[in-house]
Symmetry: C2
Subunit: 145 residues, 2 copies
């Protein structure tokens, strides 16, 4: 579909994307899908953690389970399948006597990693500030109680 016209720029992406004339600029439903699509991919609870864990190199299923405390087998399997389906991770099964399966980032996954890292960096940078503001907001909303 129409990917070229948007991809080039960075700061102008959304400006470029919202161009509907009228009383107020409107999102095109096709264009919101770009955002929605990637959000469905990495906006969930585990995808980013998996991608981040795989950043250092290939890992086996059980290694991932150990590296990401709290994830259930179901969610690990499911999320890996989503990421694999989207082409972000590779699944390599070795036909050995104790079965061995390794997951690794694809080039596509690696390219996403860097922008995800920016988000993580922003998150770490403004973590304290956000918590403070939230606290202040809650204090104002609930004077006493």
């Amino acid at each position: 579909m129409s990917s070229g016209k948007i991809g080039a720029a960075r700061a102008d992406v959304l400006r470029d994307v919202r161009r509907k004339p009228g009383p107020c600029a409107q999102w095109d439903s096709e264009e919101t899908n770009f955002i929605r699509e990637i959000l469905d991919l990495v906006g969930d609870k585990w995808s980013v953690l998996i991608i981040g864990t795989l950043a250092e190199g290939p890992l086996r299923y059980s290694d991932l389970a150990d590296a990401i405390p709290g994830i259930s087998q179901r969610m690990l399997t499911l999320t890996l399948k989503h990421l694999q389906r989207a082409g972000l991770v590779n699944r390599t099964a070795y036909a050995e006597v104790p079965p061995r399966v390794e997951y690794s980032l694809t080039d596509l996954g690696t390219s996403l990693l860097s922008t995800v890292l920016d988000l993580a960096a922003w998150s770490a940078n403004h973590h304290d500030e956000i918590r403070d503001r939230q606290r202040a907001f809650d204090a104002e909303a609930t004077p006493r109680k």
Copy 2:
């Protein structure tokens, strides 16, 4: 809390974050919260759209509703409140006869915008590639039917 040690770098953020020794590097639960926190903030269905819409300038409630097709009043109100609580958007109410309320990005919100735009750009750039891979994956999984 510990924000300085992580914030400086970019590409090393997650490497820096996951440092637990042992059989395999493990996420610290406190550190996963950084990611989780920002994901809860912008990983949902509407936050990014709202932030992107406000990028061009302040808008009223009804303007936002018009600019973001498909959003319900409930979700618009709720998401705005979340973003306001986190200090990403300002809410300015004018005491006029027809009530007027304007929402705008704070500096914090603007700083997040640029990294979110990167994500949107990545999404737009790789949209086609991902769809192709997903199609191929599905075709392989379901030979015929």
